[in-house]
Every structure is written in structure tokens, then in C-alpha cells.
């Protein structure tokens, strides 16, 4: 799995961090998403897919 972000669209909802805290974080200044691990291990894949689906700004793209 490979993750890309369109961080420019991020509304700083932080849902991705709640769902997959090992993969996503937020910048302290403005809450914009930060990618901690662009190619997370299999154990994280479900959480990442859930985060991508729930993100209210369609920021997170998951590539197989």
C-alpha cells in the first residue's frame, strides 16, 4: 500500500489521526495532516482505508 495526500484540501478535522495515529499526524500550527508513514505495514491497512473513506475533505488517496 502507498498513500498520497492532497494536503492543500485538508480541513484539519483530525479524523485520520484518531483512526490511524501511526500513519497520520497534524501540524501544530494549523492542524493540516502530516503523513508519518507513506507505506504502512499490513496491520495498518484497514485503518488507513477507513481514514481515507471518512476524511471529510477527500485528502487521502490509497494506492494498492
Amino acid at each position: 500500500m502507498k498513500i498520497t495526500l492532497d494536503a492543500d484540501k485538508c480541513c484539519a478535522a483530525g479524523q485520520c489521526v484518531l483512526i490511524a495515529p501511526e500513519v497520520f499526524d497534524q501540524r501544530d500550527e494549523d492542524g493540516v495532516v502530516v503523513l508519518l508513514d507513506a507505506a504502512p505495514p499490513a496491520a495498518q491497512h484497514d485503518a488507513v482505508r477507513e481514514a481515507a473513506a471518512i476524511c471529510p475533505a477527500a485528502v487521502i488517496e490509497v494506492h494498492a
Binding site: K9, C11, A12, A13, G14, Q15, V17, L18, Q26, R27, D28, D30, G31, R49, A53, I54, P56, A57, A58
Partner: protein, 451 residues
């Protein structure tokens, strides 16, 4: 006989989330997504922010590319309106003609902007709900939008925008229009902007932000519009908004006349759930489509997003949210519950032999945000309808605020602006379940003390 499809009505945030979840949860039968607008699913929050501002173009609002939609194998019907649903047979009518007998239906038709009588034929009076609405309004606010000869400096000079309605949408549009250099007046029935959504404490702070940037805030009721007919065949053009006698400026003084000159008017007075097409008496469509805790409106018929009013298990009363986050979460929940119901009822076409999941009540922690100027407001839980509000942090100079909302002795919502993201996420836990008020206050203090 070909298998019956599951149909999702409404091709926006909630409908798209439902369609994707149906596929991810194993629905291999036909899947129809019906959307009245001609556009591929797009996101609405940027309409009153980046799109209106001109910073983003429509492509950026697209929720999925065509390549991302392809694997869903959708029968995608854009520019198509559902006009009826027979609940007993789960049969949809499309555009008043075609019948579509379905295995299940997810209704995600959202809400439509409310308008004022007599405005539909007036040039210059706008609403802001769809991409087409936003592009039309942007056309008037940005350079070259107003043809020469309408009494306005061509090329983006200062023009007068009157916004009717001082809710969240009106305030966001006011901020953008100020940044674009327009003279902006906001007229609301309520004395404080956004008070219905966030209460008067937070509303008062926001009012100060707007006043600091030169937005004029008035309390009043619109009586009518003055118009002129330029005689170019396009019909009457708005020139002013007339207020009923007794309207005042929000700081208490007289409004200085009840006629507000306007080149453009935005009517942002809330919305009506898009349920007019649901006339089957088996459905309760009072203030949205009434659903149970599973988001079911009837057997095999589920609803999600702005249109759905369902029994929230943690709050013990029917609720309806017009929040972007809820649209996705409820779309996912409704889709899962529909599949669980179909599986329990017999062969479903999921066909991979996995045991049917149980239906689960939908019990989200609501989340809402709004951007005005460089201020980002974020809220968890319920901030509307509170009987008690406290603002433990209220630092106007630092532009930081934290408010706690209570109802019937319990803390039900929290709102923050200008706090670090970690603290804001910690606040979510405080209102995930309504806690006794005092306990919530202590937890708020702890969450904001730990930097």
C-alpha cells in the same frame, strides 16, 4: 430475471460514501447511483470558501476521479431526478417516467436552499448550495462578473453585497466577499450571527471579527427588493433590499434607513430537506426523512446525510445534522445496515458465504467546522439547542476560544478555535458520551492544561 439493484439516490458526499461502502462490504449485484445534478460527486464546504474566493477551480472539489469511480462498477445516472418511491415494493420512479424495482434503497438527497418569495426571476439574487450556484455568485463577485453599464465599475471594483441570513453560510460568504474587497452587509433575524448554531457567546466573538474587517451587521426582516429593468431582455435586476420597520444595527443603533443598496444579494436563510419527492405515506418526512437508530426509514429503505433525521442512541431524541462529516459516516453506516438487513432476509447476491453482519445503531460524535478569515472553528457533539453554555477560554486578542454546551444537566458539545490540534482532538472524548456537566468541565480543564 436480472438481479435487482441497490439504488442510492443523491450523488454527493453521503450517497458516494454509501455506494463505496456497499461495494467494500461485499455487494456484487447491480448498483445504481442517481444524482439530479449533472456533475460528478463534488464537495460542498469549499463552495463558500476556496471556490467562491477563486482560489480553487471546480475540478479541485471533485470527490473522486473517473478512474477512482470505475472499480465501483456503477450504473451512474447523473442529471436524473428520483420523483417517487413506492416503499412496499421498493420501486423508484426516475424523472417521472422510468420505474426501477430495487433490492434496497439509500436516500441521500440532502437539502435545498430556502429562498424568499419573488426572487427567482430577479437578476443578482443568489443562493449558495450547489456548484452552479457558487459559480454564478462568484461570477458576480470576481473580476468581470458584472457587465459594464450596470452602474458598477467593471473589473472588480468595490461593489455592494447584501447577505440575507446570518447563519454559518452567510458568515462564511461575508468573510470571502470582504477579502475580495466588497462592501458587505449581513442582515439576520437573530441579533447575533450564528447564534442558532453556536450560541450567543461564540456568536458575539465572531461578530466582532466580522465588524473588525468592516462587515456591517444588521438585525431585521426583509420586506422586499427594489429593482430596475435594464431593458436588455434579462428581466429586473436587484438594486436594494428593503427591511421591515424596526430593523437595527447589531450594536443597538438604528440601521440608518431600511433600504440597503445592493448590486448582489445572497439569500442564506437555511434549507429544506429534499423530501418533496417522497410522498408514500409509509414515510414520515417532517423535517427530513425520519429513521430509526439504524438509519432505516422502512424495511429496505435507509437514509443518510443532511436529509436523514434519526434516533441518535446517545442523545435519546431524533437529530438531523447538516455537517459534512456526518454525511460520510452516516452514508457508510446506512449502507452496512442495509446489507445486513438484506443478508438476514435471505440470499443477497453478496454470494461469498461470509456470515451476515449485525445491524448496528448509528451513534457518531458529530463534528463540524467553519472557516472565516483565518479563523477555523471546530466543534464536536451538539452545539445547537443547548440550555447552558460556558466559555472557559475566551482570549479575543489571541483569537482563541473554547466553549462547552450543555443540555438537561449533561455536557453535549464543545467548540474550539485557535487551540492546538492535539487539544482539540482530546476535547472530542469529553463529549463522545454526554457526561454530567461538572465532570465534563473538569475534563475540559485537564485537556486544555496538558499543552
Amino acid at each position: 430475471m436480472t438481479a435487482r439493484p441497490i439504488a442510492v439516490v443523491g450523488a454527493s458526499a453521503a450517497g458516494l460514501a454509501a455506494a463505496e461502502t456497499l461495494r467494500r462490504s461485499g455487494w456484487r449485484g447491480p448498483l445504481t447511483l442517481i444524482g439530479a445534478e449533472p456533475h460528478l460527486p463534488y464537495d460542498r464546504p469549499p463552495l463558500s470558501k476556496q471556490l467562491l474566493h477563486g482560489a480553487w477551480e471546480p475540478e479541485k472539489l471533485r470527490l473522486r476521479t473517473e478512474e477512482q469511480l470505475a472499480p465501483l462498477d456503477l450504473d451512474l445516472r447523473l442529471g436524473t431526478r428520483a420523483t417517487g418511491l413506492d416503499v412496499a415494493t421498493r420501486t423508484l420512479t426516475l424523472d417521472g417516467a422510468e420505474s426501477l424495482a430495487c433490492a434496497g434503497v439509500v436516500i441521500a438527497t440532502g437539502v435545498a436552499a430556502r429562498t424568499l418569495p419573488g426572487t427567482d426571476r430577479l437578476t443578482g439574487v443568489h443562493t449558495l448550495r450547489t456548484l452552479d450556484d457558487a459559480l454564478a455568485l462568484r461570477g458576480r463577485l470576481t473580476k468581470g462578473g458584472t457587465p459594464a453599464g450596470e452602474g458598477v465599475a467593471g473589473g472588480g471594483g468595490t461593489r455592494r453585497l447584501v447577505i440575507v441570513g446570518n447563519g454559518v453560510l452567510g458568515c462564511e460568504a461575508a468573510a470571502v466577499a470582504r477579502e475580495l474587497g466588497h462592501e458587505v452587509t449581513v442582515v439576520g433575524i437573530e441579533g447575533t450571527p450564528m447564534a442558532a448554531a453556536v450560541g450567543t457567546d461564540v456568536g458575539t466573538l465572531l461578530a466582532e471579527e466580522h465588524r473588525d474587517r468592516g462587515v456591517r451587521l444588521l438585525t431585521g426582516t426583509v420586506e422586499g427588493f427594489d429593482t430596475t429593468d435594464p431593458g436588455d431582455g434579462r428581466g429586473p435586476q436587484v438594486t436594494a433590499v428593503r427591511l421591515a420597520p424596526g430593523s437595527t444595527s447589531a450594536s443597538g443603533g438604528a440601521a440608518g434607513g431600511t433600504r440597503l443598496p445592493a448590486d448582489t444579494v445572497l439569500v442564506a436563510i437555511g434549507s429544506r430537506p429534499a423530501v418533496d419527492w417522497l410522498t408514500d405515506p409509509a414515510l414520515d418526512t417532517t423535517d427530513g426523512l425520519r429513521c430509526d437508530a439504524y438509519c432505516a426509514a422502512a424495511p429496505g429503505v435507509y437514509a443518510a446525510g443532511d436529509v436523514a433525521r434519526w434516533d441518535h442512541p446517545a442523545h435519546g431524541r431524533p437529530l438531523r445534522f447538516e455537517h459534512r462529516m456526518n454525511a460520510t459516516e452516516q452514508g457508510m453506516a446506512a449502507a452496512r445496515n442495509l446489507l445486513a438487513e438484506l443478508a438476514a432476509d435471505g440470499p443477497t447476491g453478496t454470494g461469498d458465504g461470509t456470515p451476515a453482519p449485525e445491524r448496528r445503531p448509528f451513534a457518531p460524535v458529530p463534528y463540524f467546522w467553519s472557516d472565516q478569515y483565518d479563523l477555523k472553528i471546530q466543534a464536536y457533539g451538539l452545539t445547537a439547542g443547548a440550555d447552558r453554555v460556558e466559555t472557559p477560554v475566551r482570549d479575543r486578542a489571541g483569537r482563541r476560544i473554547l466553549a462547552l454546551y450543555g443540555r438537561e444537566g449533561r455536557a453535549v458539545g464543545v467548540l474550539a478555535a485557535g487551540l492546538p490540534p492535539r487539544q482539540i482532538r482530546a476535547l472530542r472524548a469529553v463529549v463522545a458520551d454526554p457526561l454530567p456537566w461538572e465532570e465534563a468541565r473538569e475534563r475540559i480543564a485537564a485537556a486544555t492544561a496538558a499543552g
